[in-house]
Symmetry: C2
């Protein structure tokens, strides 16, 4: 029987320093399929070429990341049953093409949904540019600890997920054909969980084969937003919240639906074309109004 | 007018130390399309997964490489007109999945074919394992300096290119569909020549778009050899010589023809399926007889 070590979990404060080069920035973009067989290729050259290189805003999720810290036995978490529920980035400044960043990850909340459901754990990472001291991004995640509910913690209502206006059709629809090796490539940006490469490990948790990283799908949805709403300019993306609904298998086609809602607000959703399944929902986009 | 600085070129001795991790080894394999949509994927998992990771022998060409040293003005070489003519690797030991290597690159010969033709320059790189001192590989290249011929150097006959027995059909034929982003990925292993990413630079030297690295095609031919002749075991490949015939564009299908010649000898050739053009010829394979 696992028992979450509440004190240890609440006190989490993980500081990570990362020096990254243009190679890491390009590798992240290639991990999202930039340069692949889709109509955006030419406009995205700046994400994969060191000359005038720009950083995709969603790279904030992998920068100065503490890795899969929940696996540390001191937290007492049934880590095999953890799911990534929600992801959010709030951009404060454009991420340099190379540099040194410091990330500080803390726990911002926890909610016990009961033994049969699990615990919602809210984590937040602040990413700073070491040289300038500028805060670059706030990266928040909701983790679903399915094996740790009913420990007597408070059951607090979480933030309401953003409603996608799917009563009407989307204003933009973009397709991204993922590559069979997409997860193998994306994992080199940091998340080495074997579920994305090892057929045996994937099989043990009920998948027919290794799955794509949820954050890869999130990054692909980000590419669609940049292209349709930001004229390709990464500085225009201010905020992107989304909820993970279902896994993607490498090689599948991800269809991203985008709804314009106002001058600086949009909604987004991603589906797998081959299976007509929503994989990322409740997507909220805020745009910088004055860039 | 460029004039080759003979003394400087003959005296070349470039020592490079490189620390590489499993991420670099995996990145090299992904740059060759391992994990892509071809029938070898399952047997090649060991080249893209850090658990029981093995190194593709052709990685010797990028390890501890001095880069594009001919560009240094002190050599007086018309570097824009240099072509990569031939490549050879001689394997002495299997390359570790990670470690520290030292490469020493020297010039082993030069032949002046006249002002209208150019100069053939033979370079050779010895790759050592820093920890054990073991020599891992001898990597030889023939560079064709098209703009520097007729400087009065000796015109010496080079080694005869290996004859592929194409009077009869090959014993094995394997197809590899390259990815549109293949060159973008391969270049992260070290060869950052903009001709492989920048449409403008590619255009200036007469290509409709950026071309794939010849050494990427070479590595793909190596994958075919491992799979058909070595039961996938990288330790079985002893030597691989080849001559570059024509460029490949990312996204094209590379067909590799393999001829068995004896117990420890084979011939290999690569063609682009869509254009029926030989891109790599005169391929000679020697196998370790007792692994």
């Amino acid at each position: 029987v696992w028992i979450v070590n509440l004190e240890q979990v609440s006190a989490v404060c993980l500081e990570v320093r990362q020096e990254y080069s243009f190679r890491d920035t390009i590798l992240y973009a290639l991990g999202l399929g930039v340069g692949g067989p889709d109509p955006l290729a030419a406009s995205e050259l700046m994400f994969v070429y060191e000359k005038n290189l720009r950083t995709l805003p969603t790279m904030a999720v992998v920068l100065a990341s503490p890795g899969f810290w929940l696996r540390d036995p001191k937290y007492g978490i049934a880590w095999e049953r953890v799911l990534h529920g929600e992801q959010s980035i709030m951009m404060h400044r454009e991420i340099p093409a190379e540099g040194v960043v410091v990330g500080v990850t803390k726990i911002s909340g926890m909610s016990d949904k009961g033994a049969d459901k699990g615990v919602l754990l809210y984590s937040s990472k602040e990413v700073f540019d070491e040289k300038t001291g500028d805060r670059l991004a706030t990266v928040s995640a909701t983790l679903f600890l399915r094996g740790d509910g009913g420990f007597g913690g408070k059951n607090e209502p979480g933030p309401k997920p953003y409603s996608v206006p799917d009563a009407r059709g989307p204003d933009h629809v973009l397709e991204f054909v993922t590559h069979p090796a997409q997860a193998l490539l994306y994992r080199l940006s940091g998340d080495l969980n074997p579920i994305h490469v090892d057929p045996e490990v994937a099989g043990k948790v009920g998948f027919a084969k290794p799955i794509l990283h949820g954050l890869c799908t999130y990054g692909i949805a980000g590419r669609a937003v940049l292209s349709t709403l930001c004229q390709g300019d990464p500085a225009r993306l201010k905020r992107f919240d989304a909820r993970f609904a279902s896994p993607v298998f490498p090689g599948e086609t991800i269809v991203v639906d985008v709804w314009n809602e106002s001058k600086d607000r949009a909604a987004v959703r991603a589906r797998v074309k081959e299976r007509d399944v929503v994989v990322l929902g409740n997507g909220r986009i805020d745009l910088q109004s004055s860039v």
